[in-house]
Symmetry: C2
Subunit: 157 residues, 2 copies
DNA sequence: GGGAAGTTGTTTAAATTTGAAATACCCCGT
DNA sequence: ACGGGGTATTTCAAATTTAAACAACTTCCC
């Protein structure tokens, strides 16, 4: 647009709205999840990813990528969930460096118990405020941003 | 929409797109800021808030609210910035319980040095992908979400 | 085959974030 | 003026996150 050194008011307003509101949104939804199920959003997302994966299991690296977690963070995260019996860890059959996180039955039960409340929370704080056009716009915009980021990341290697 | 227990595909797609992409977006922009200026996004935002405040100073509580920081987190954050000479802390004149964070000249210089690069980064990863309609849509949507959250928070007290 | 080079995960220590409790103070009603 | 009930910020310990250094494999390429 104008000066490439700064942002015009419309650009700045959009950027600040996204930064601040998304922050508050995630906090509100995580608070709901914590009080209704005792799970953190990270816990929940691990359970979702594993439950959707074939064999209810994923390589640590895959899981880390999907969750956008640094490797050591995932090691810790899965460690705490293992202690609580939600997942177990198994050595990877074909690659002995690797290990897999596996969803336990208890983990699946926990997810099933937590999901309705969480989805209700997402609906209440997010979806209910939006019409179909809004949803489409958000999906388009954030998908595009993500593609660009991925492309940029690929370049810088 | 349909079943109030879950989300339909369009709703789920929008939610996941926002969660994942915004995450990656913030990480990318913070990485840029870190390498170009050595500041974290939290550092930067503190500097921005103080620079825009009358007298370049804010009560700790106000600052915490604007940054969406828990009080003790802000105490720590300002502590590290004080060590680096970016801000100073002064007792609040009219309320002896309180203290104010004050932007130092060095802090302002640091902000001025960091801002162009940061804004360029925001432009590159975010603004450049969007047209005026996208920006307006984002501003509208996230402002609405924020209003609802604030209303909900007010209710629950 | 042998080893250099690259992967995958974990470990460690340090930095950050959280949450509860402590501290210091304000303000209102008596 | 005094007590009780808030409010503002810090302190402290525990939990989480990060970054760097490792250990154990795999892969490539000769």
């Amino acid at each position: 647009m104008s000066d490439e050194r700064s942002l015009n008011p419309a650009e700045l307003a959009a950027w600040r709205a996204v930064v601040e509101s998304s922050q508050r949104l995630f906090i509100a939804i995580e608070d709901d999840l914590r009080t209704s199920s005792g799970l953190s959003l990270a816990d929940y997302n691990v359970l979702v990813e594993l439950s959707e994966a074939p064999g209810r299991r994923l390589r640590m690296g895959d899981l880390a990528t999907r969750l956008i977690f640094a490797p050591s963070r995932l090691t810790y995260q899965v460690g705490t969930m293992e202690k609580r019996g939600l997942v177990s860890r198994q050595p990877c059959p074909d690659d002995r460096r690797g290990s897999e996180a596996v969803l336990t039955d208890a983990g699946l039960d926990t997810l099933r118990a937590a999901a309705p409340g969480h989805l209700r929370s997402v609906r209440r704080h997010f979806v209910d405020d939006l019409d179909a056009a809004d949803l489409a716009a958000l999906t388009k915009i954030f998908t595009r941003i993500d593609e660009r980021l991925t492309a940029a990341r690929a370049e810088s290697r």
